[in-house]
Symmetry: C2
Subunit: 356 residues, 2 copies
Amino acid sequence: MKERGIAVWEKYVRKVTPYVPGEQPENNNILKLNTNENPYPPSSYVKKAMEEISDEQLRLYPDPRAGLLVKAIANHYGLKEEQIFPGVGSDDVLAMCFLTFFQSEKPIFFPDITYSFYEVWANLYRIPYEKKPLGEKFQIYPKDYFGENGGIIFPNPNAPTGIFLPLKEVEEIVEKNKDVIVIIDEAYIDFGGQTALPLVEKYDNLLVVHTFSKSRAMAGARIGFAMGDPKLIHYLNDVKFSFNSYTLGISSLIAGAKAMEDNGYFFKTTEKIKNTREWTKRELKKLGFSFPDSMGNFVFASHEKYRAEDIFIHLKENNIYVRHFQQPKVDNYLRITIGTKDQMEKLMDCLDQFIR
Amino acid sequence: MKERGIAVWEKYVRKVTPYVPGEQPENNNILKLNTNENPYPPSSYVKKAMEEISDEQLRLYPDPRAGLLVKAIANHYGLKEEQIFPGVGSDDVLAMCFLTFFQSEKPIFFPDITYSFYEVWANLYRIPYEKKPLGEKFQIYPKDYFGENGGIIFPNPNAPTGIFLPLKEVEEIVEKNKDVIVIIDEAYIDFGGQTALPLVEKYDNLLVVHTFSKSRAMAGARIGFAMGDPKLIHYLNDVKFSFNSYTLGISSLIAGAKAMEDNGYFFKTTEKIKNTREWTKRELKKLGFSFPDSMGNFVFASHEKYRAEDIFIHLKENNIYVRHFQQPKVDNYLRITIGTKDQMEKLMDCLDQFIR
C-alpha cells in the first residue's frame, strides 16, 4: 500500500541522523592524521595471537562473557572481573550505557563541544539532552553539571579539544550527581591525563570507559570496555545479553587479552606519542597556531591568519588528512592526530609551505 | 541518595530479562551438540586470511561499510552492494532491524515457539508483540499473520523445530503485509530449505537475514547480514551508524569475504551435514523418537517413553551436550545439533544405552 507515493511501512521506521566518522581512504600514500589512530603497530603479541587462532575456535561460538579478555583487563587494573564490561569498541560500550542507564525524563548533560556521537545516541534512543556550553577557552565548568539531570557524560580529556579536567573536578561532578549515572569517556586518558578509575571503588554511580583503538593501536580489532560498580556492570550485561549474546569475536577476545599483557610496549609507545605531541605543539606555535593544551594523541589547532578550511584543503591536496568539523565555534580549528616524529615533520613542512 | 536503601539511579535503568545462550563449556572432551555449530572447520581460506592480516590493518579503523565483505556477499548472491547490510552475527543484524523497523503502536507477530531472542528484543525496545501459536505439529499457519500488525518475523526453517515453510506460503505472508516490514530469518536455510531471496526484488518490505555461524562454520567470527531493498538497507545503515560506526573488525571483514569465495567447500560440508541429518533421523526413529522433519542442522526430538529432561541429564553425564528448553509445549523435546557421522554414532550409542 502506498500513501502519496510513500510506502506505509516508512511511517514505522526509526529515522535518525547518523554519526559521520572520519574518512578511511584506501590510498596507501596518504598520511592519515584524521581519526586519532596510533602511528605505531599493536604489540607484537597481537599478530602472534591472531596467527594461533584455530579452526576449532573459529567454528565455535566465542565465550559470550569474553572471560579471557575481561580477566586480562581486571588483572591489569587491579579490579574484579565483575567490574568490567567489554564491547565492540568503546562506541558499542557507550551505546549500551545510553540504552541501559539514561532512561529518565530529565535531560542528560554533556558539553556542547565534545564527541559528537553523544548527541547521536541520545537521538537514536529518544533520550532528552542538554548541551552545556564550554567556556571561551573550551573549558568545562563543573558547576554546569550540578543541576537536575538524567545522567552525565563527557570525555576526559575532552574531544576534540584535548583539554583534561583535573580529577578533583571530575570527582566533584560525580559527587554532586549520586542519583544518576556519570560516564567518563577516557578514550584518550593514556596519553597523559589521570584516570578516574580509583573513584569507581568510591562511587557506585560512576562508569569509566576505555578503548583499545587509541593507546593500544588496535582500532581494527574493535575493543572497548567500561569499568564500574558490579551492579552497573550487571545491568549493562543484562542489556547486552538482550541485544547480542556474542559481541566480541574470538580474534578480538584473544588478541585483546594478549595485548593487555604487553605493558612495556604500551608504556614505550604512549611515551613516544606524548613526546611527539609536545614537539608538535612547539612547532605549531612557531608557525602561528594556537591550541588548547591537549593531553590526547591529537592537537586542536587554529591559525591566527589562515582559515582552517583552507589549510585543510591544502593539506588534503598534499595527501595529508586531518579532521575539520564544519560546526559552529570549532569550524576554524583542525584536529590533528599525533603520528610518528617523521610524520609530524612532514606535516610541518607542508604547513610551512602554505603559511609562507 | 538512597530511597529505602535503593540508589535513585536504579529507577532510570532499563530493566530486561536477557536471552540465555546455550552453554559454551571449556572442557574439550565434551561432544557439543547444543548450539547448532558446524562440526566441520571453516574454509581453509579463513585461517589463511587471518594469518595475513597486517599490523597496519589492526592499527587502523576498519572500513565502516565493510565494503570487502559486502561486495563478496553481493557477488555470491548476484545482488547489488546496496542490498546488503552486514553485522556482528545475525543477532546484531536482527537487533538493528527491530530497532529500525518495528516502531508501530501495533504489535509485531511471531510464532509462540521460535527463536526466543525475538521476544527479548521486543522487550528490550518496548515493542508490542503478539505470539501466534503453532499448530499441533508445530506448523506455522500463514493466515495467522494476515491481521493488522506492526511487522512480522519468523525463522525459515523455524527454530527449534526445523520445519520449513514452503516459499509460496512465505510469499503469501509478505504479499499480505506490504504495509509493514517482514523479516525472514534464514539462519538455517543452507541445510535444505529454499531461500526467499528471489522475493527481495519483488517486495520492498522484505528482509532476508543470513549468518556465517552455521553453514559457514564461523560462529567465532561473528558475521551475519540482511538482504533487501536498497531503501531498507539505507535505513538500517542510518541506525547502525547512529549506534557504532565500526561494528565489524578487520579479521571478520577479511576472513568473511574470503570464506564467501570458497563455494566448493561450502557445498561439500553442507551436503555432508544434510546426509548425516537424514541418517540421524532414521536412527532416532528406530530408538522410539519422533520429531518434525527438520531442514536445519539439528533435529527437535521427543521420546515416546522417556522424559526429555532425563535423557538430557543422561547425555550430559556422558559429556554429550544437547539443548533442552524448559518452556511450555516444548519441554519434552531435545534440540540436537547435527555433528559429524562419528559424533552422531556416539550420540546414538549413548541414547541406546539409556533406552535399553
